[in-house]
């Protein structure tokens, strides 16, 4: 493999890893802080992708407008979902959480089918980002993929700032440790958790939104990303956003280079890596903290 192909594959892996990270960070927040196993997280990704399709076919003119409207809309949907469904799950068994959130997958798939049908849909890459950067006479790299990486990095930076440097972030971290104490200091923990959930939803939907032009928009797309997101969360250490970043990169590189080096076993390579990591560190790379 020459150096240019290596560069291309590395960029692909980084881009994939960053998208995975955003997906998994929402999942790990909801899992780590609220202790809810959210099987519908993949559906949130799907909702984001269909939102991109819906919004870009006539409602919003430009990509920034689409993203802005999509983010606001998804925060709002997440907020309502927590209020109506997830708020009832905190005191429940994992089995009940799995049942409800699996039920939600079916509901979301049905709604998708009613609203958008069952065909594979495409979202056009915005014109300004449609080009490619030539690397050699025959190889080039699509600008949109670089845009995805940049957008994910910005999101990750904002998330880091929010959790580490704002009062809301302090409350969230405190709440993940001791719910009662946070309430006893006068903080509305129900509202706080609703906001965390809405943020998690927003991160998943955002990944779906910006991935849509790259991956096409299709039924079942949420289920494909769900399992790999759980793999990232488990490898990274449940509840650890930093761990999710490292794990997402490990998985993305394993996936991209696995397909290249051992194509025959590409499907299982990622899980092999997971098994090895968990043998080495059963609690994940980063323990929750």
């Amino acid at each position: 493999m020459d150096i240019v192909s290596l560069l291309i594959q590395t960029l692909n892996a980084v881009q994939y890893g960053l998208v995975l990270f955003l997906l998994a960070s929402g999942l790990t927040l909801i899992f780590g802080i609220m202790r809810i196993i959210n099987l519908a997280h993949g559906s949130f990704y799907m909702i984001g992708a269909y939102m991109a399709f819906g919004l870009s076919s006539g409602i919003t003119e430009t990509l920034p407008a689409m993203i802005a409207v999509g983010l606001i809309l998804s925060f709002f949907i997440g907020f309502i979902l927590e209020w109506v469904f997830y708020a009832f799950l905190y005191q429940r068994e994992h089995l009940e959480q799995v049942l409800l959130t699996y039920g939600l997958i079916l509901v979301f798939e049905e709604l998708r089918s009613i609203l958008f049908g069952n065909d594979v849909l495409g979202v056009a890459v915005p014109e300004a980002l449609a080009g490619s950067i030539p690397l050699t006479a025959t190889l080039s790299y699509p600008v949109y993929r670089i845009f995805i990486s940049a957008a994910c990095l910005i999101m990750a930076g904002l998330l880091y700032y929010l959790i580490r440097h704002t009062r809301l972030g302090m409350m969230i971290r405190a709440g993940s440790h001791d719910r009662n104490m946070v309430q006893a200091l006068g903080i509305n923990i129900d509202l706080l958790f609703r906001i965390v959930f809405a943020l998690g939803f927003m991160l998943a939907a955002f990944s779906g939104m910006i991935s849509a032009p790259m991956t096409s928009v299709s039924p079942g797309m949420g289920n494909q990303v769900l399992i790999i997101s759980f793999v990232v969360v488990v490898i990274g250490g449940i509840g650890s956003v930093g761990g999710a970043m490292v794990a997402a990169m490990v998985i993305a590189f394993a996936d991209v280079f696995g397909k290249l080096l051992v194509p025959a076993y590409a499907g299982m390579f990622v899980y092999l890596v997971m098994a090895l990591v968990l043998l080495w560190r059963p609690e994940g790379i980063f323990r929750k903290g």
Partner: protein
């Protein structure tokens, strides 16, 4: 008589089938300092938690400023002006000292805000030295100072201190008592639970003694000095 700052009326609290509070009538006026006493397991912490809505009573009422708050959520109850320092301190180990303080900061129920980060740090110079440390790195005494400082950041009218000096070395305990006196002198009402009666009694206006979830004494702290047998029987000293 004006409304009490906080009042409980025939409060009954259970843990499952175990009947822990058996009809507690308790009252504290603004600016008053009350010792809540009793042997281990008599229900002191449970009474405090029931006041705050962290444990729910089966019967009876909790009123704050005359308003029934028995079923109100905990955050609404404490926003009436209560700062809580729990047994075990409840420090967030995953937050720094500064973050433990800042996350709790709010103005008092009347919109007043005398307790700022700066004033808390002036009151607890030890915390200033540890400001960047994680909560998990603090000694017991430092944790207690942080817990009290954090409660003050909410600008309370009433400070609730469960086990003020438990497990602390005598010198540190003395420091805590000095601070409690200082806080009392600013006019904040306090409910204090502690096993060190010799240090506690001179500090308070009134004592309340619990035995098996019932109030057996409620009166001036100094009257207890004359009732050695009674005190020995119920407090074991």
């Amino acid at each position: 008589m004006p409304d009490a700052l906080l009042e409980t009326a025939s409060l009954h609290t259970y843990y499952g089938t175990s009947h822990v509070l058996r009809g507690i009538d308790f009252k504290i006026q603004p600016g008053e300092t009350v010792a809540l006493m009793g042997r281990n397991g008599m229900g002191k912490s449970t009474l405090l938690k029931t006041m705050l809505g962290l444990v729910r009573p089966r019967l009876g009422h909790v009123r704050i400023w005359g308003k029934d708050m028995t079923r109100a959520s905990t955050h609404k109850i404490v926003r009436q002006g209560i700062g809580y320092v729990p047994e075990g301190r409840g420090i967030f180990p995953n937050l720094s000292v500064r973050e433990n303080l800042v996350m709790a900061s709010r103005s008092g129920p009347d919109g007043g805000g005398h307790w700022t980060l700066q004033r808390v740090l002036e009151t607890f110079p030890r915390l200033q030295e540890r400001i960047g440390n994680g909560g998990w790195q603090l000694s017991g005494g430092e944790q207690q100072m942080l817990a009290i400082g954090r409660a003050l950041m909410t600008n309370p009218e009433l400070l609730i201190l469960d086990e003020a000096t438990e497990g602390l070395a005598p010198a540190i305990a003395k420091e805590i008592w000095r601070i409690v006196r200082e806080i009392r002198d600013t006019g904040i009402a306090t409910i204090i639970v502690d096993k060190n009666f010799a240090a506690l009694l001179p500090l308070v206006d009134r004592s309340v003694i619990l035995v098996k979830g019932e109030v057996v004494y409620d009166g001036p702290a100094k009257d207890l000095n004359a009732q050695r047998d009674f005190v020995h029987q119920h407090l074991g000293v």
